[in-house]
């Protein structure tokens, strides 16, 4: 197992290098010079020229691109992601503060997705073809089809502005505290709804596959209670592909968090990225995109490892 994990991590190195390279060159070789992205277009030309010289000298943008590239690689290897243009602070410190917030939001969303999605999927599969099944699946598709930022605003309107039960936005401390929990609830529901829909659909079809298998019939035939068969025999096996999807959903949520964090003013990585783009803070954009993408790669590895761990058929192949 350890050697497998190690192998996967080693295999990820070229991918990570590829991501860094791609992000670097997309931002550097773009038609708009990165410096142009950083300077407001309405400045007078003399001020503009001065600002450009400043930035060039400070960040080494006057060097050839390949020199900058290798410098950048070297800096990353030393844990230096550069400096924010607006705050003149190391980006790595900002990210260290913000990554836990995004992970908290992601975890709560995942929990909501998993409970709702798997629960509804199982009910749907058990009552296959019934009205309940149809309604649940319609609801699941509706969840997938809903723009999450819009759902967030609707929740905000209902629970924050009209009913006044939940805080409208912001971070209220760690999610395991009461205040923190109240703050995370709406963003997490917003972020988790689409995932719940996907999971419900997938759980249903996975359960239907398993329920029609011989061993489930055997278990029923030998007189086991229906509930026992569903939970112990069917669900346990149906969960194998679901776990994979769950991990994948977590990765997708990291990307979805970019929008949701902006809606709810959640101080996470996604909001940092959007602030960076809006503030023409190009090193922040570069570092944040890279970190999210690498996080996505790591989650994919965890998914595969988890998959081999819970499914012996794969482990022994």
């Amino acid at each position: 197992m350890t050697s497998y994990i190690l192998k996967r991590l080693l295999a990820a190195i070229p991918t990570v290098l590829g991501i860094i390279t791609l992000v670097f060159f997309v931002l550097h070789l773009s038609p708009g010079d990165p410096i142009n992205l950083m300077i407001p277009p309405d400045l007078p030309s003399s001020v503009r020229a001065e600002r450009i010289d400043d930035i060039n000298a400070r960040y080494g943008f006057d060097q050839p691109v390949y020199v900058q590239y290798f410098q950048y690689l070297g800096n990353i290897a030393r844990g230096d992601l550069g400096e924010s243009l607006r705050h003149q602070e190391p980006i790595i410190d900002d990210l260290k503060r913000r990554i836990p917030n995004t992970l908290q939001l992601g975890m709560v969303s995942l929990l909501i997705s998993a409970t709702m999605g798997i629960g509804l999927g199982v009910i749907s599969a058990i009552r296959h073809g019934s009205l309940t099944d149809n309604f649940t699946m319609l609801g699941a598709l509706a969840g997938v089809s809903m723009p999450n930022f819009w759902l967030g605003l609707l929740l905000m309107l209902a629970f924050g502005l009209h009913l006044g039960i939940l805080p409208i936005s912001g971070y209220g401390g760690p999610v395991w505290t009461w205040e923190g929990f109240k703050h995370v609830l709406m963003p997490a529901i917003t972020l988790g709804t689409a995932g719940a829909g996907v999971l419900a659909r997938f759980t249903r079809s996975s359960m239907l596959d398993v329920i029609s298998q011989d061993y489930v019939r055997t278990a029923r035939a030998k007189g086991l209670a229906y509930r026992t068969v569903i939970t112990r025999h069917a669900l346990k096996n149906a969960l194998i592909p679901i776990v994979t999807l769950l991990a994948l959903e977590f990765g997708i949520m990291l990307a979805g968090a970019i929008v949701v964090e902006t809606v709810f003013a959640w101080p996470g990585v996604g909001r940092y990225l959007i602030d960076g783009i809006n503030g023409r803070d190009f090193p922040v954009v570069q570092a944040t995109v890279m970190v999210i993408a690498i996080g996505f790669v790591l989650i994919n590895i965890v998914t595969d490892v988890l998959y081999t761990y819970i499914d012996p058929r794969i482990r022994f192949n």
Binding site: G18, L27, S145, F202, I258
Partner: protein, 307 residues
């Protein structure tokens, strides 16, 4: 002479037979699609939206961009069916015109992504060798980005705007489509009908367009519909963030983005464009699900595999 005539006859009847089978199959697909009630409802709604988009000037009751400070933030009324926004613009007319932008961006991004992925996947699957090696490595890297993140990266470089939005979103679709097409081509290219085509001297282009392409069209149609839905959502999200269509443009996401600050006083400016996005995407997903069941019964309608 008579032998020749018989041969010709057999040939003719064989081709008509093949055509008949094709027609029957197509009819079968349509029938299977039509028995799905959700799909029919979705199709009807989408058709309605397309008509609204085409005839927007006729359907709209006001100009989508005319501002009127006297009628700001109004509730829905007989004059303004969906109320007005913070600049006094008629929300109904903006939603109507918005159909043009949102449908165009969604369909455009799905189409561009599909065609680019098709070309990339087809060439690398068919020719193999270094073309395959290089393109698959690039695709691996692109696939390690969540689609939204890739789109945000590209838009932040290209700048906002409708065309840039289409480019940014379509790149996220290119790599999964390329991979899908490639694996389909890999399994198809050694089958007898392709080998037969090669042996009678058909050129590469002919084989790819006449023999391989027809075998993957149903795959492309299914993915195209689902990507249309995904693209519409992604475009709305980016415009909402201010990275896509810009303010006076009545794009649905952008409308929600500019209306959100007035959520308390005029929720209608946020509510209605959102409903438009929601129902359009839902319709597309209905159609996509039904197409998947109708065109390829072996594919299971599970969760959406791509987002």
């Amino acid at each position: 002479m008579s032998e020749q005539a018989t041969a010709q006859n057999t040939k003719v009847s064989e081709t008509t037979l093949a055509r008949d089978i094709r027609v029957i199959r197509r009819f079968d697909t349509v029938k299977r699609f039509a028995t799905n009630k959700f799909a029919v409802v979705g199709f009807a709604f989408l058709a309605l939206m397309v008509l609204i988009a085409i005839f927007a000037p006729v359907v709209a009751t006001h100009s989508p961009t005319d501002q009127s400070l006297l009628t700001r933030l109004q509730e829905p009324s007989s004059d303004h069916w969906f109320g007005t926004d913070q600049l006094g613009r008629d929300v109904f007319s903006r939603v109507v015109y918005g159909a043009r932008y949102s449908l165009f961006i969604g369909a455009g991004a799905a189409l561009v992504g599909l065609v680019a992925g098709l070309i990339l996947g087809m060439t690398s699957g068919f020719f193999g060798g270094w073309i395959d090696m290089v393109s698959m490595r690039i695709i691996d890297i692109l696939l390690s980005f969540p689609g939204v993140l890739l789109a945000i990266l590209i838009v932040s470089v290209l700048g906002p705007g409708v065309v840039n939005l289409i480019i940014a979103i379509s790149i996220g679709f290119t790599s999964p489509v390329a991979r899908l097409v490639r694996s389909a081509v890999l399994s198809l290219k050694n089958q007898d009908f392709v080998l037969a085509a090669i042996s009678i001297g058909a050129g590469n282009t002919r084989i790819m367009t006449r023999h391989l392409l027809p075998n993957i069209t149903s795959l492309l149609i299914i993915y195209g519909t689902l990507y249309f839905a995904v693209a519409l959502l992604a475009a709305a999200g980016l415009s909402f963030l201010g990275l896509g269509a810009q303010s006076p443009t009545p794009e649905w996401g952008a409308m929600i983005g500019s209306g959100r600050e007035y959520l308390r006083d005029a929720s209608n400016a946020t509510l209605f464009p959102g409903l438009a996005i929601f129902f359009t995407v839902l319709s597309l997903n209905f159609i996509g699900d039904a197409l998947r069941d109708a065109l390829d019964p072996r594919m299971k309608s599970s969760g959406q595999p791509m987002r």
